[in-house]
Subunit: 100 residues, 2 copies
DNA sequence: TATTTATATTGAGAAAAATAAAAATATATC
DNA sequence: GATATATTTTTATTTTTCTCAATATAAATA
């Protein structure tokens, strides 16, 4: 769980995800969209893979990256506990102390 | 947006959110749930506030913290673009290269 | 009123972790 | 063998996390 937030806690990595939303791409193609060196992008891709937000398949000399939506689905579930609709039973302590 | 992931990228801070899911609590009550010093928890609370995941109200000598669900709602929306259901139009490049 | 007690935050500094890039390495293609 | 693609390793810098000490503010009490 921690790995996911760590992976998402970076604009470049979120942009990579947005890129791959449209189509699968090679590491090189992805790197071409950014002003970072290829090793840097490679590192970002690695973090996204560690978080299982991406999968990769090697085809010859290329490595194709694809979105893996299952982790996002899990994250979504986690997040749903904190939405307004899911918290109607919440005890509100604060009002009790408002008298003073 | 970046602040939210930064704030969520820590187990302690996520645990704080889970605590406040049940009821509002003072900084001290929150700190009592962890094996960290009060200043440490205070810093975590500050980060959560910066990310607008929490609100705080001072009542006398106490500071009550509450969940703020609106940011989670926004995050949820962002995340929905990456779920399987939302990506049916995706161009799949990979298969094209599978021949070799 | 002055002083003590309770709650909470702020700031300084140290240890640990993350970030970015260059250089080196690995692997596949021509 | 030479070239292209991609990752790994190394290194320097920055950021994060944590605690201690000090500060701020409110409440209780002598």
């Amino acid at each position: 769980m921690n790995n996911v937030f760590k992976a998402l806690n970076d604009k470049t990595r979120r942009d990579i995800l947005e890129l791959l939303k449209q189509e699968d791409m090679t590491a090189g193609q992805i790197a071409d969209h950014f002003n970072f060196s290829k090793p840097t992008i490679s590192h970002h891709l690695d973090l996204l893979k560690q978080a299982e937000l991406l999968t990769s398949v090697k085809k010859g000399q290329f490595v194709f990256y694809s979105l893996n939506t299952t982790v996002m689905d899990e994250l979504l579930k986690w997040m749903l506990q904190f939405t307004a609709d899911t918290l109607p039973l919440k005890k509100k302590i604060t009002p009790r102390y408002e008298g003073k």
